[in-house]
C-alpha cells in the first residue's frame, strides 16, 4: 500500500492541473509541470505499466527458461517440458492490459498478427493457450498444476508459485 502512495500523489497532481487547481496558462504552467515531473520520478516501479511481469511455474518445476522459450511456449510450438510432460500455458483475456504487455514483451507481435498466426494453427487443430479470467485464477491454477505456466504482475507473486523470469 505504501508503495502506491506516490502514484496516488501523481494522480492527484494530474487532477489538480486538469481542474486548474494548479496554474494552466503557458507562462505559469511550468512550475506545475516541474512538480509533476518531480512526482513522476518519485513514483516507484509498481502498479500498471511500470510494474514488472513475472513468468511463473509450479514450485516443483525446476527449469530455467529464456524469453525465447516462453515465446515458443505461448505460440504453442514448444509443447513439452524436458521431462516429457505437456506444457499448459495460460493466458489472461485478450483485452487485459497485462496480456497486451506480455504479448508485446515476449511475442513481439500485435494482436492482428497473432490472430493471423492462430488462424493458420487452427487449420491444424491447434488452439491458442487457455484463458483464465484473472491473475488470481492464473496464480491458483499454476500453484496446483506442475505442468502449467502463466504470468502475473511481479508484485502478485507469492510462495505458492515460482517466478522464472521477470520482464520489464
Amino acid at each position: 500500500m505504501a508503495a502506491r502512495i506516490p502514484g496516488l500523489v501523481l494522480l492527484l497532481a494530474r487532477f489538480a492541473i486538469a481542474k486548474q487547481v494548479l496554474p494552466t496558462r503557458p507562462a505559469a504552467r511550468t512550475p506545475g509541470l516541474v512538480l509533476l515531473l518531480a512526482l513522476s520520478l518519485l513514483a516507484p516501479a509498481t502498479g500498471g505499466e511500470r510494474d514488472g511481469v513475472a513468468v511463473i511455474v509450479h514450485p516443483d518445476r525446476r527449469v530455467e527458461l529464456s524469453v525465447d522459450d516462453v515465446a515458443q511456449i505461448y505460440l504453442r510450438r514448444k509443447r513439452f517440458w524436458s521431462d516429457g510432460s505437456p506444457v499448459v500455458p495460460l493466458n489472461l483475456p485478450a483485452a487485459d492490459p497485462l496480456r497486451e504487455r506480455f504479448s508485446r514483451l515476449v511475442l513481439r507481435q500485435n494482436e492482428r498478427r497473432l490472430a493471423e498466426y492462430w488462424n493458420r494453427q487452427y487449420f491444424y487443430g491447434v488452439l491458442p493457450p487457455a484463458t483464465l479470467a484473472s491473475t488470481e485464477g492464473v496464480r491458483r491454477y499454476v500453484a496446483a498444476d506442475p505442468n502449467a505456466i502463466g504470468y502475473l504482475p511481479a508484485a502478485e507473486v507469492d510462495g505458492s508459485v515460482r517466478a522464472l523470469l521477470r520482464l520489464d
Binding site: F80, P93, A94, A95, R108, R112, N119, G125
Partner: protein
C-alpha cells in the same frame, strides 16, 4: 487440393437445381459478413473471446468465433470454414458459387495424441455464365485425416492423409488462410497436394528461433482423390525450415514420386518469408525438377508482397513465372488484389490476374472470394 479452393470448378451436370434456395444462402452469408463488420465497428471480439457457453452434462460446451465448438470434457472440437466465390475471366467466362462447409474435427484424448480430420461437403450452389440456372454438387470428401503421436518436441509421428509439406503455400492452402483468391501455379500443378502415409516431424529450439523438419512417405493406398489427377503410387520427401522469432523464415523441400509404372521424379524447392514490419509481409517460393504427373523438367517461382494499407485492408501483389515440362510455353503472371479482414474470422478478397499470354494453365481475369471461419 481441396475443392473449396478451386476457383472454377464447374457445377455438376448431375447435380440438382438449387436456384430456389441459392438467394437465401447468399443472403445468409452476406448477413453473417455484415454482422462481423458491425462487430468490428463497434469493437471487435478479442481473438479468444467466448462467444457462447453452456454448462451441460458433458461439461462446458463453448463456441468461440473462428475457433470452433468445444464439446465439454470430451476433448472434441468441431470447427471449419465456408467460402463464396465469384470470377469473371478475360474472354467473358464467369462463374460463382458457395462452397459447402469444410469441417475440422479434432480430438485430443491424451496430451500425446492429436487426431485431426478435415471433411468437405462439396459445392452447395454454383452457377456459370454459360449454363442456365444454379446447380448443387454436394458430396462428402476427406481432405485430411491423420493422427499425431509424440511426447517430445524433437520427434513426433503423423499417420494418415495429410497435406504435402512442400513450401509455404501448400501446407495451409485454404481460402481463409491465404491472401489471394487465385493460387500460384507451382502449388496447383506440380506435385500431389496430399500424401497418404506417415511422417516423422520435430523441432529444435535455438536463440531467436526454431529449426523444424519433416520426413514423409506414401505407405498407404490413397483415398478420396480426384480421378483426373491420381496421386503418385510411391512418394517420399523432406522439408526443413528455420523460423525466426524476429519475423522471417527459410525453408527447403525435396519430393520424389513415382507414378504407376513410371520413372521416379525428383523435385526440389526453397521458400522464404520476411516481415520487416507489422504491416508488411514478403514471401515466395520456387520449385525445380520434375513434377508428379508429367515427364520432363519444370521450374517456377512466385514472389508476393502484402502491405496493410489502412487498418484491416491489405494490398497484395504477386509475380509468378512457370516453365512447364515438355514443350509448353513458359508463362508470366501478375496478380494484384485487395483483402479486407474486418475481423479475424472473415476475409474478403478481390484480385486480378494478368498474364503475358492466354494459357490453359491459368486464365487472366478477376477473382473474388468471401470466406468465414467458424
Amino acid at each position: 487440393m481441396s475443392d473449396a479452393t478451386s476457383q472454377s470448378a464447374p457445377p455438376s451436370r448431375g447435380g440438382r437445381p438449387a436456384a430456389a434456395w441459392a438467394p437465401l444462402l447468399a443472403t445468409l452469408l452476406v448477413w453473417v459478413g455484415a454482422g462481423a463488420a458491425r462487430a468490428e465497428l463497434s469493437g471487435a471480439p478479442p481473438v479468444d473471446a467466448e462467444a457462447v457457453g453452456l454448462d451441460t452434462a458433458i461439461g462446458r460446451v463453448e463456441y468461440r468465433a473462428g475457433r470452433g465448438l468445444h464439446l465439454g470434457d470430451t476433448r472434441l472440437t468441431i470447427g471449419g470454414f465456408t467460402t463464396a466465390e465469384a470470377e469473371r475471366l478475360e474472354g467473358g467466362e464467369s462463374a460463382g458459387g458457395i462452397e459447402g462447409a469444410n469441417f475440422f474435427l479434432f480430438f485430443d484424448p491424451l496430451p500425446y495424441v492429436h487426431l485431426f480430420s478435415e471433411l468437405e461437403t462439396g459445392q452447395l450452389v454454383g452457377a456459370a455464365g454459360d449454363q442456365r440456372g444454379a446447380r448443387s454438387h454436394l458430396r462428402l470428401g476427406v481432405d485430411r485425416a491423420y493422427g499425431d503421436f509424440g511426447a517430445s518436441d524433437a520427434l513426433g509421428l503423423r499417420f494418415g492423409k495429410f497435406l504435402t509439406p512442400i513450401g509455404r503455400w501448400n501446407p495451409v492452402p485454404a481460402e481463409p488462410f491465404v491472401w489471394t483468391a487465385s493460387e500460384p501455379l507451382i502449388v496447383e500443378n506440380v506435385f500431389d497436394d496430399t500424401v497418404t502415409g506417415a511422417m516423422l516431424f520435430g523441432r529444435a529450439f535455438a536463440p531467436r528461433g526454431a529449426l523444424s523438419y519433416s520426413l514423409y512417405g506414401t505407405f498407404l493406398d490413397p483415398f478420396d482423390f480426384d480421378p483426373g489427377e491420381p496421386p503418385a503410387e510411391h512418394s517420399a520427401g523432406g522439408y526443413v525450415e528455420w523460423a525466426s522469432l524476429d519475423g522471417w523464415a527459410l525453408g527447403a523441400s525435396y519430393f520424389a514420386s513415382e507414378a504407376r509404372g513410371g520413372p521416379w521424379h525428383h523435385l526440389g524447392g526453397v521458400d522464404g518469408l520476411w516481415r520487416p514490419s507489422a504491416r508488411i509481409e514478403l514471401s515466395g517460393e520456387a520449385v525445380f525438377g520434375e513434377g508428379t504427373r508429367e515427364n520432363g523438367a519444370l521450374w517456377g517461382l512466385y514472389a508476393q508482397a502484402v502491405v496493410e494499407t489502412i487498418d484491416t485492408l491489405y494490398a497484395i501483389g504477386r509475380y509468378e513465372h512457370f516453365a512447364p515440362p515438355g514443350d509448353g510455353r513458359a508463362i508470366d503472371l501478375y496478380d494484384v488484389g485487395l483483402t479486407w479482414i474486418p475481423v479475424y474470422y472473415l476475409r474478403l478478397k478481390v484480385d486480378y490476374r494478368i498474364a503475358d499470354h492466354r494459357d490453359e494453365l491459368s486464365a487472366p481475369g478477376l477473382r473474388s472470394s468471401l470466406s468465414l471461419l467458424f
